[in-house]
Symmetry: C2
Subunit: 287 residues, 2 copies
């Protein structure tokens, strides 16, 4: 047993650590937090989008007035997050009997002291009750986790090493030769590296784990950036606990690529076949 | 030719009409608008969600500082909109060279004068440039519009009469007999009634036109309410103009139904086979 992993804080928890700031005067329930970008999750420009999303959600998770668990998250990435400190404000704008609506804003101060918005999010949390249920989406068929090799270890960007990714469909092209792929589907087994028990912020972060569909489709790397990212959660604490730190099946496909923006839809499944989250995003791409 | 339709304002335009309010002091670019619910789009409790979404987007469309056209919209329905006046504030929180990020809030004053948030939205607008493109989603096969009868005219709720809907798959169950359907797919031809040239707000409103997937799946009506609704736009002015006021093909399916919330994904196509919008929502349902 690796006691170090148990005793030390996981790299993911360090990355989403937020410190509450003093509440200002007035009746507002908005709560501000201070955080810091993590070099461990650095992407080519700014941090991995999934970790920024997780930080935005974490502010809601830590808010003392939170009602229930996340049902829906939409994050909007307005600018690359600069290395260093940021502030997140989480505001419960409407609290009903069983649902709560949140707006969340991440800001950073520039060198000249001006404060700019870098990300926004809206979140719905809810108290769930047991009801009739069904899953209409089909789980993609998949080989056993151990039958697939881990993706080639590459040193940069850093965030890639934070996940154990085992692609079995639509792997990153080996050659960037402009040979169009017939589709834009990727499927993999994936978990945090080192392993970590699944929770809402980590499931959110995992939902952004797919490399850009336009790279797969065109076998060409071009600059891209997610502008809006949505995750619907289909879990409760028991479902998360049953997943533990095992691999999830993550599957995504592009839908339409048009004049600088494409969208993708994806789904994340427990190894036991439970649909944990559905996810969508729209991404800027340069030709 | 019906000259009355040409001369009079279309019922949709009356419903999304907003009046700019005086800008307050300070440097903020936020702009407030006054609007009013439309009895023409009334749903069972509050207005049709698609019209509320269109009103939220309309505030962005009318904002004097808007850059480019809508790429992404997420609306969160925090409470039923009460009949009468509402205020929408549209705030361009970040403007880049070719993209702009918006937060939008709809509020209403209660009988006691307290102001409460009823809806929020985030919107991304962008200047698009011509790029490589592709569509990976397949258009559902469909009979000709004229080969399908209009859905049965029912007097209530009012919003149903605002659309010419021609279901050819997954029509509303004829009997609410608790016989589970094998899937939750609906497909239809649909346009505004009377016909109206397609634009961004009307395409957004059309994206919410599907009746609740849980009703289809269970052949049982239970209380439902969309909590979050996302649309990705894959159009420009030329695409919209080419659609004119013809029927669109609208297709949606449920994905997972779990403890009070289900999600659906949908797609809207021009009669010429162009994928105009992809749309997702998560919906509360009672057992």
């Amino acid at each position: 047993m690796d006691t170090r992993v148990e005793q030390d804080t996981h790299v993911f928890d360090r990355a989403v650590a937020l410190k509450p700031l003093a509440t200002g005067a007035g009746a507002s329930a908005a709560q501000r937090f201070r955080g810091r970008t993590s070099a461990d999750y650095a992407n080519m420009v700014g941090p991995y989008g999934g970790i920024t999303a997780a930080q935005l959600l974490q502010a809601v998770m830590l808010h003392p007035d939170r009602l229930g668990d996340p049902v829906s998250f939409t994050g909007n990435f307005a600018a690359a997050v600069a290395d260093g400190q940021f502030t997140i404000e989480a505001n419960p704008v409407r609290t009903n009997r069983s649902t709560q609506h949140w707006t969340v804003t991440m800001t950073q101060a520039g060198d000249d002291g001006t404060v700019a918005v870098v990300s926004t999010a809206t979140v719905v949390t809810a108290l769930r009750r047991e009801t009739w249920g069904a899953t209409d989406l089909s789980m993609p068929s998949a080989p056993a986790v151990d039958a697939i090799r881990h993706m080639p270890r590459i040193p940069s960007p850093a965030w890639l090493a934070r996940y154990d990714m085992r692609w079995f469909r639509g792997a990153m092209p080996r050659e960037w030769n402009d040979q169009e792929s017939p589709d834009s589907v990727t499927a993999m087994w994936v978990r945090d590296e080192p392993p970590r028990p699944l929770d809402y912020p980590s499931l959110l972060a995992l939902s952004d784990v797919f490399y850009p569909r336009v790279w797969l489709r065109r076998a060409r790397t071009t600059p891209i950036g997610t502008v809006s990212f949505t995750v619907y959660f289909h879990v409760d604490d028991d479902t998360l606990a049953a997943c533990g730190s095992r691999h999830l099946l993550a599957h995504a496909k592009g839908q339409r690529f048009f004049n600088g923006y494409f969208d993708q839809s994806g789904d994340l499944w427990s190894p036991d076949g439970i649909l944990l989250a559905t996810t969508h995003q729209i991404v800027y791409y340069r030709d």
